[in-house]
Each structure stands twice: as C-alpha cells, then as structure tokens.
Symmetry: C2
Subunit: 321 residues, 2 copies
C-alpha cells in the first residue's frame, strides 16, 4: 500500500510522461505552466489511494488521476480570470503572464485533454466514470457561480454556504475517491460511501481554511491574515457571527463591512471572539470530520487497507497551512 508521498511520486512520474501537443505555443505553454507549478496533487492522489483500497493501482486509475488534475487546473485558470487574481502558488496567473483570451482558451483545451485521458479507461468502466466526472464538473461550475452570486447578496444562509463550498470544492475530492474506487472494482454502495467520506473531508477542510484565514499564522499559511475579512468575504465565520449576533452586534458587523481603517481585521476578530466564533467554527469542522470518518469506517474493506487514507485525511484536516 502506498502512502500519500509514495502515491504522489507515482503520479508525478506518470504525469511527466504525458505531454500536450507541441504547438501552438501560445495555447499549450500556459497549460504546461500551470501543470508545472504543482500543488500537492491531492485529488489525483486520492484517485490512486482509493483505487489501492481494492487492488494494486491500475493504469486506468492513472488515466483518471491525470484527468482529474487537468480538470482541476483548468478551473484554476478560469477562476483566476473571474476573480481577477494576480498570483497563483506564488507565480503570475495565466491571464497575467499571457492574456485573458489565451487564459480562456488554454483552460478550455485542458478541459478537453481531461476527457481525452478519461476516454482511455477500459470501456467496461467508461460510462460509469464519465457519469461521475460530468455530474461533478457541472457541480463545480455551479459552485463557482453560487460563490460569485453570494458576493451580491446579503441574505446568504449557512445552509446555502455549506452547499456552495460542497459544490465548489468538496465534490471534486469526493469524485476523485469514488472514481478510484470504481476502477478498483468497488460496489456501488462502497463507492458511494467513499464519495461521502471525501465530500465531508472537503467541507471540513474548507471550514478549516476559513478559520486559518482569520486565525492562522501568517508565517505558516504564507499569506496575509484576514484576507477574507478585508475583502468582506461571506465565510462561515462571518455568516455564523451574523447568525449569533444580537441587534447591536449585527449593526457593528454591518458597519465593519464598510469600514476601511487599518484595524478592520482586529476589530472584526474582536467581534468574532465576543461571539465565540472560533469555537463554533471548530465544532462545525469537527461535525463534518466525524461524518467523514464514520463513512470511512463503514467502507467494507479491511481496516489495515484504509490506514493510509485515514492518515491523509487527518493530515488535511490538522494542517496549519
């Protein structure tokens, strides 16, 4: 059984052999750029580790892992245009380094390359895998649209927020695991259970992300603390504060949205602390982690085979960066 690092190395080696067509350069250089600047390869590794729950990692799982990573990187290129982001993983974003039309088109072609890799899996699995992949890809787009819609709304509920982060970030992790399991020969009920495991890990991970943006160590997370507060993002922390606030606190929270003083983050954190938001966020995170581990327990596979996935999940949820 491979642990995270071993599966990551296997994936990187395989990825290195897969190339885009040589030209047009202006189309494929951005694709090579975004794939080369890396990231932790969490999603493709999840395909491989879920696959190995059942049997040694198959060629089909490697094809699907590459497809998932290509799809993920395509969405990063397009999200960065939509969010007007200048940097990604410390490097210039594609629309900054090249231009917006090229970023749109490079993203588009990477999405098609994702399907090209997916199409290599054995015909007996192809329709099932495509079904999971398509449903998920549609949901990821819906999540991104909801995230943009929320910026314009003042009445977002916590239920809606959880639904949005589920679509925008969790379902792809869940689908990666499910696809790996299907390709390993999992039953429908087992592959659905591993999907639920991934979905809940994803939600918990995102809640931790919200928490760290406000309460993490700038040094450890490598970016400014309070970015979400400064940009008035409707995070779990903000929505929970809004829910728990009395009339006076709600007015203050509202006021802080328009406040531009240097102590905006400090004042907001004071209010969050007053309302015990760190504890509430921690509890929500633990709620979804617990659901995740319950699902993992229920998967009808020997416990020893689940060990590496469990360690990965714990690592993802305990991270401080």
């Amino acid at each position: 059984m491979k642990n995270f690092t071993e599966a990551q190395i296997l994936f990187e080696d395989y990825l290195a052999k897969e190339t885009f067509k040589p030209s047009p350069d202006n189309l494929y250089d951005p694709c090579r750029h975004i794939m080369a600047i890396g990231g932790k390869r969490i999603r493709p590794v999840c395909v491989l580790m879920a696959n190995e729950l059942y049997a040694p990692i198959t060629e089909d799982a490697l094809h699907a892992a590459i497809a998932i990573e290509l799809f993920h990187n395509f969405t990063l290129i397009h999200d960065d245009i939509m969010d007007n982001a200048p940097l990604r993983r410390g490097k210039q974003t594609v629309h900054e380094k090249w231009n917006m039309p090229t970023a749109i088109l490079s993203g588009d072609v990477m999405n098609v390359y994702a399907y090209q890799h997916l199409a290599k899996v054995h015909p007996k699995y192809l329709q099932a895998i495509l079904q999971v992949f398509n449903t998920t890809a549609i949901e990821v787009c819906e999540g991104q649209q909801m995230d943009m819609d929320f910026e314009q709304r003042d009445d977002v509920s916590i239920v809606e927020y959880i639904h949005m982060i589920t679509l925008k970030t969790s379902v792809l992790l869940a689908a990666a695991l499910k696809i790996g399991a299907i390709l390993g020969g999992a039953t429908d009920s087992a592959s659905n259970m591993i999907y639920e495991f991934g979905k809940n890990i994803g939600i918990s991970f995102q809640l931790k992300d919200d928490y760290l943006d406000a309460y993490g160590s700038a040094e450890k997370i490598g970016k400014q603390i309070g970015g979400d507060i400064l940009s008035n993002k409707k995070t779990y922390l903000y929505l929970k504060a809004k829910e728990k606030a009395n009339t006076q606190q709600a007015a203050m929270l509202q006021e802080l949205q328009h406040y531009t003083g240097a102590d905006k983050v400090e004042k907001t954190l004071d209010l969050f602390n007053q309302l015990d938001i760190p504890t509430a966020t921690q509890q929500a995170k633990e709620h979804y982690s617990a659901l995740a581990f319950e699902c993992l327990d229920k998967i009808p596979v020997q416990d020893s085979r689940k060990q590496d996935l469990k360690i990965l999940a714990e690592y993802l949820l305990e991270r401080e960066k």
Copy 2:
C-alpha cells in the same frame, strides 16, 4: 430519408425536451439564451443525415447531435469574449448581456453538458465517438489560437491559413458527419471518407465566407460589406493578393492596411480586382468543393441515399448569405 429541413425539425423537437438544470439562474440563463437564438443547426443535422446514410436515425445519433451543438455554442460564447464581439445572430452576446465571468463559466458548463449527452451513447460506440470528439475539440481550440496568433503576424502563408480555417471551422462539421456515420455502423474507411467530405465542404464554405464579406450583397448577408477589409483581417483574399502582387501592388496593399479613409474598402477591392482575386478565390473554393464531392461519391452507400447530403452541401456552397 430526411432532407435538411426535416432533420432540422427532428433535431429541434428533440432539443426542446433537453434542458439545463433550473439553477443557478446566472449560470444557466446564458446557456438557454445562446441555444434559443438558434442558427441553422447545420452540425447536428449533419450528424443525423450521416447517420441516416446507413439506417433510420438512432437515439444515439440524437444524443451526439445535441453534444455537437452544445459544444459549438460553448465555443461561440468564448470566441465572442475573445473577439470582444457585441452581437451574435443579431442579439447581445453573453458577456455583454451578463458579464465576462458568467460568460466564461456558462461556456465551461455547456462544454461539460456536451460530454454528458455524448456519454449517453451505447457503450460499444462510446470510446470511438469520444476519440473523434476530443481530437476535434482540441483542434477547434488550436484553430482559434492560430487565428489570434495570425493577427500579430505578417508572414502568414496561404497553406497556414487553410490549416487554420480547417481546424477552426471545418473539423467540427467533418466530425459531426463522421460521428453520425459511426453510429450508423459505417466502416472505418467509410467514416474517414465522410470526414474528408465534411472537411473539404467546410474549407470551401469558409472561402465563400471570405468572398462574400468583400463581394456579397449587404442586404443578403445582413451585415456591412468589407468588414474583414476594415479590420485588416488576413483572409484568403488578402493573402492571395499579397502572393500575386508585384512590388508596387504589395506596397499599396501594405499601405491600405494603415489607411483609414472612407474609401478603404473601395480602394482595396480595386486592388483585389486588378489582381483577379475574385477568380482565384472562386477557383480555390471550387477545388475544395470538387474534393468534397469526390469523397461523397466514394462512400460505399447507394447514390440515392446520398442525395439529401449532396443537396445540403450544394446549398451550403452556393449560398449568397
């Protein structure tokens, strides 16, 4: 056997039953908008007519036809952003009517919906169909990138131009026909032959398009004559003129690129006429039409079954708008 109009009606009826998910509205309203403003549905009808060369139109062919039309409309949304186009089929483009992020994301989700419809075809055809579709989708992106690259270059050859229009516009028509044929049970050699038929029709069609932009009737084509000349587009006409020009004429052609007088179109057409460009363009168009009809003749299917496709091809090539 169905003629173009009959196949078009069948397609529209089928399309009307297929819907996007109801929400988020901001994601799916643009998808519904672009699909509703129509167009002639040439590509999906080609899937159906090629399918009917072999047998009555199958459900699989209808799935693939919708996939091709969704893919085509997704590329229109993204191309319009890249080209900064305000209008499409006389209506506001998606990025104008909504905004750029929504246009990017709606295009993305339509591409996934295309694959969702494609995934419905019978597993015995699925891998073959995906292979044609993916190769083609990649080429369409490459063609669009080449088109953008050409704007910055002064040394584009006619061979490169033909290659670019082949990728940008012809291969999708060719793939539509090939996919329809495969789903009808065509042999590899027959489906490749019908692909070549479509590819050459597509090239011929685009050359006619270049010709009409300069020499058509404004009333009939429904847009200003000389749009390509005014925007210094490197069309077949321009590239052929550059090839045939003597030193003095070449200098004049170069000068006209920077000229902004009200008689820019008139002066350019004078030069084109001097160089006999209308005839040269007509000859090139006929060269590709002839290749197309040779391919159609070679397809091992009774002539009577090819009649409607032949009429469609003639209609596409003889059109004055």
